[in-house]
Each structure stands twice: as C-alpha cells, then as structure tokens.
C-alpha cells in the first residue's frame, strides 16, 4: 500500500513534537529527581558530609533493583501506578511518567559517579572555611562536577530518545509509534527511513548541545 504523503508529513511533525516533549519533560523531571537521589547517595556515603549508612544502602539497593529491568517491561509493570498518578496509561504523559522514574535512577547513578570523582580535599577545604552541608552541596559539589554531569545528562537524553520509541508502542505516541505502525506493521521502508533519519538528527542535536555546554563549563 502506498503512503499518502500529504497526510503523512503533518503526522511526522506531530509525532516529532511528541517525542521531543517526552524527552524534554522526562529530562527535566528525571534530572530533578535523579540529581536529588544522586546527591543523597553521595552525601550519605561512608565518610561523607551527611553519612547515613541505612539511607545509602536503601537507595543503593533500590537503584540496583530498578536499573536492570528492561524498560519495556518496567513500562508495563508500572502501569497501575501510572494510572493512579496520570489518570491513564495511554498517551504522551502516560509515557513520560514511567520514563521519568526509570531515567531518575539512571541519572542518580551518573550523578553519584561524577561526585565520587571530585577531589575530597576540595570538600574538606570548604568545610574548613565554615561551609554548611547545604552550602557544600550547592557551591562545591554541583559546580565542581558540572562538566561531566552535563555529558552524563546528554548520554541519558539519547537513551531517552530510545525509551520514547518504546513508549510509543504502548500508546505514548511519538516517532517510535509512527515507525512501528507504518514501518514494522505495514512493511513500508520509506516511512521507517524518514523516522530513523529524524531520530538521528535529534540525537546529533542533543549531543552537540551537551558537548557545547560541557566544554564551556570544563574549559576543554
């Protein structure tokens, strides 16, 4: 069956918009949640400024439970919660919710890894100058780790484009959905090619933005 390109292009533009919305919304909510969890993980670590073994262990295990679950399964498993929070399990926002949860745990780990890389002496110096734990978090930890953090978030953004394609298959809309319905189910290679090209462009743009910002912050 031939594709009607006059109806197809508006459809493509609409789904690109949905994908971008899913990715950006997830990135914003996921970063807020993920950076918070990552910071909490770092500061409660043994020997760190707010050491709390039980909290560290709980978060650590929680992340290790959530992270290995394949996203498509996580999406389905979380659907009762999604329904309770968003009110539906179909549509863009119903996809954003599980994406956010999955992304935050990934981001949390990236944040923790980057914070561990900070020279402990720098934190000690801030402490010696009379910085409170709160001040240490916002004036030392985050600025010192910002460059690698931006690269980490760029990496996550690109996985989110991938996530969004999967979310499409459960009614989240977006380019993934278009590619599946036209390309996979109707065997139309040209549609699939167009969506893939758009996805590649999105990835390139995301990586370019991430590289530019991180270079600016890290001065290299």
């Amino acid at each position: 069956m031939k594709v009607d390109w006059t109806t197809f292009w508006p459809r493509i533009i609409e789904s690109t918009g949905e994908t971008v919305l899913m990715v950006i919304a997830t990135l914003i909510f996921g970063s807020i949640l993920g950076i918070s969890i990552g910071l909490l993980l770092y500061v409660t670590r043994k020997g760190n400024i707010l050491e709390k073994q039980w909290l560290f262990q709980t978060l650590n295990i929680l992340i290790n439970i959530i992270r290995p679950i394949p996203f498509i399964i996580f999406l389905v498993a979380l659907s009762p919660v999604t329904r309770a929070v968003v009110g539906s399990t179909i549509g863009t926002w119903a996809a954003i919710f599980p994406m956010t949860i999955a992304a935050s745990f990934g981001i949390a780990r990236i944040v923790e890894n980057n914070l561990v890389g900070i020279e402990p002496g720098v934190v000690e110096a801030a402490k010696a100058m009379g910085a409170s734990p709160f001040q240490i978090i916002f004036t030392v930890l985050i600025p010192e780790a910002l460059g690698p953090l931006i690269l980490g978030l760029t990496f996550v953004t690109i996985s989110l484009i991938d996530f969004s394609a999967m979310a499409g298959t459960v009614g989240g809309g977006g380019l993934g959905h278009v590619a599946m319905t036209y390309g996979y189910q109707r065997f139309d290679g040209s549609v699939m090619l167009v969506t893939v090209v758009i996805l590649i462009i999105l990835v390139q743009v995301a990586q370019w933005i991430g590289n530019t910002f991180s270079r600016k912050v890290m001065r290299r």
């Binding site: 720098v122 000690e124 110096a125 801030a126 100058m129 009379g130 409170s132 600025p143 001065r219």
Partner: protein, 341 residues
Amino acid sequence: MIEFKQAAKTFQIGKREVTAVNNVSLSVAQGEIFGIIGFSGAGKSTLLRLVNMLERPTAGAIQVQGVDLASLSQKELRKLRRRIGMIFQNFNLFTSRTVAGNVAYPLKLGGVPKKEINARVTELLSFVGLSDKANDYPEQLSGGQKQRVGIARALATSPDILICDEATSALDPDTTADILRLLKKVNKELGITILLITHEMHVIQEICDRVAVMEDGEVIETGSVFDTFTNPQHSTTRRFIQSVQQDLPSDALLKEWRAKGGRKLYRVIFKGEVASDPVLSRLTQQFGVNFNIVYGSIRELQEKFFGNLLVSFDGDRHAVDLLLTALRETVEIEEVAVHES
C-alpha cells in the same frame, strides 16, 4: 591561642583500632609560628585537623582562644572555622572557580556584600602577588601560584590562626622558599598565629619559633627551634636535624681518622653571644695547648650564631684536661665517639 589537653584520636579501621594521636598536650601562643614535625604516619595531619574539628578527638580537649571546641554547636563551629584559615599540600582549589572566585568563596559563605568582596579580593591578591592572575583558572597556574591562591583564600576572612597541612611538600625548593617567605610575612605583618605540620626540617629551621616532634601519635619533644636544634633530646629529633645539617662526619670518615692515628676529637658547641668571645684561642694559649679544627660550621639559626666544631688538642695530657674544664664553663664540649660497625 591553641591548647591541646591530653588530646587523642583513635580511628576504627575495620575491626582494628588505630591510634593516630595519643595523649598530646601542647600550647601554641598568640603570634608565634609553631611547627610540628614528624615522619609520615606520625599523626601530625590528624593532630592539625583537631584544631578546626575536621577530626573530633576521642579523648582530651582542644581549646582555641579559650573556647573548648567540644562545647560548640555545629553553627558555632562553622563560625569558628571562619577565624581559622587552612592551607593544604595539594592546594585544594575549586577548579570550577577563577583565582578571584576561589579567594571570594569564603567571603560569599559569610554573606559579605559583593562590593566588599571585590575590594577584599583585590587587596588579598596584591598581598600574595597575584593581581594579574585574578581571572585565570587554577589549572593555568604553577604549584607555587596555586599555593599563593590557597593562602589568599585562607586569609580572606581575616582569621586569627592559619593552619598549614604540609603546605610546601608538593613544591620545589625555590618555590618552597617563596611560600615560606610569604608565610613569614603573614605572621609578621598581619599578626596571624601559624600552626604548621611538615616532614621537612628546613621548613622548621626557616620560619618556626617553636617546634614539636611527633612520633607514633605522641609528641616526643617540644621547645624553641634554637634549643631543639642545638640540644636535641630524642634520637628522632637528631635524625631530623641531621637531614638539614650534618653536625658530625660520617662514621667511615671518623674511623679512618682514628685508624690513621688521629687524636681524640671533641665536639665544641657554642651558641649565641659566646661566638663573639675568642675562647678557644684564648684558653689554648693560656694552657699551652695547640688546637686543630678538623670539621664543623658556624651558622645562623633563628637569628643567632650557632657553632659546631670538631677539634683535636695537641699538648700535655694534664694541660688538656685543665683546658677542657676551663672551656666547659663557656661552651659545651663532648668527646666524639667512634661507632664500631
């Protein structure tokens, strides 16, 4: 100014207990430069961190300006830390901030108005000689310049005390001398009490007024730098002193001297004023004894003369004995032992 009272710190490493600081009592007076020297692992770094409670003592007490640190709340402690500047071996500058940003940081923490911060940063950078580097980032600086930034940052809040954690150990000899001069300037011009730790005896010799020697978590010797250098009590102290000045020739050379039939050697030590009295010449003439200076030096130490000479005497045995007794009234004399090894 700073008072350690039977301070101790024990770390729990796995199931093992490690005592880093053991029963240390020390008192650092206002306006002095006090040095703590010890080999690595002696506990000096931990001791230093007790002063601003980066480490809490497990026993004993620490007082700063008469205040028992254990009695302070977290908030009061943070306030106190602003009066104690600290510099580090690895500088610990913020890589995300410029030179000016690093120096401004402690002022920002204290909520100082922006205009005042800028004026203070300019003043501090000129004090440490880095006015032209304000907008550079730490990675663009040499080690010595980094430490200058560290010092400017530590001085930002106009502290009463500066504590230095191996501040020159990562620097080359020339740069070390620069930084030591700067620390001396901080002490003299700003009247800031300095407590430093080091494993380099020349740092102590160069700028300290008093010194404590640490070993295995304990202070084994303490006194003025002049007394400690001229009359060390402990073998570890002697080892440190020998690292900067060789007071005796090597055992091999002494044995060779003895083997060739050389006379008994006496170590003559004279300190301070005594140096202006030609005692050796006067007394040897009086007793009719010839003397021969075999080895030694006369140096300046803490702005005083310090002489250390190895001398042999040639003359009647009785006369030599009388001479030694007479000499002992003004200078220190000991016979040099040759170790058979």
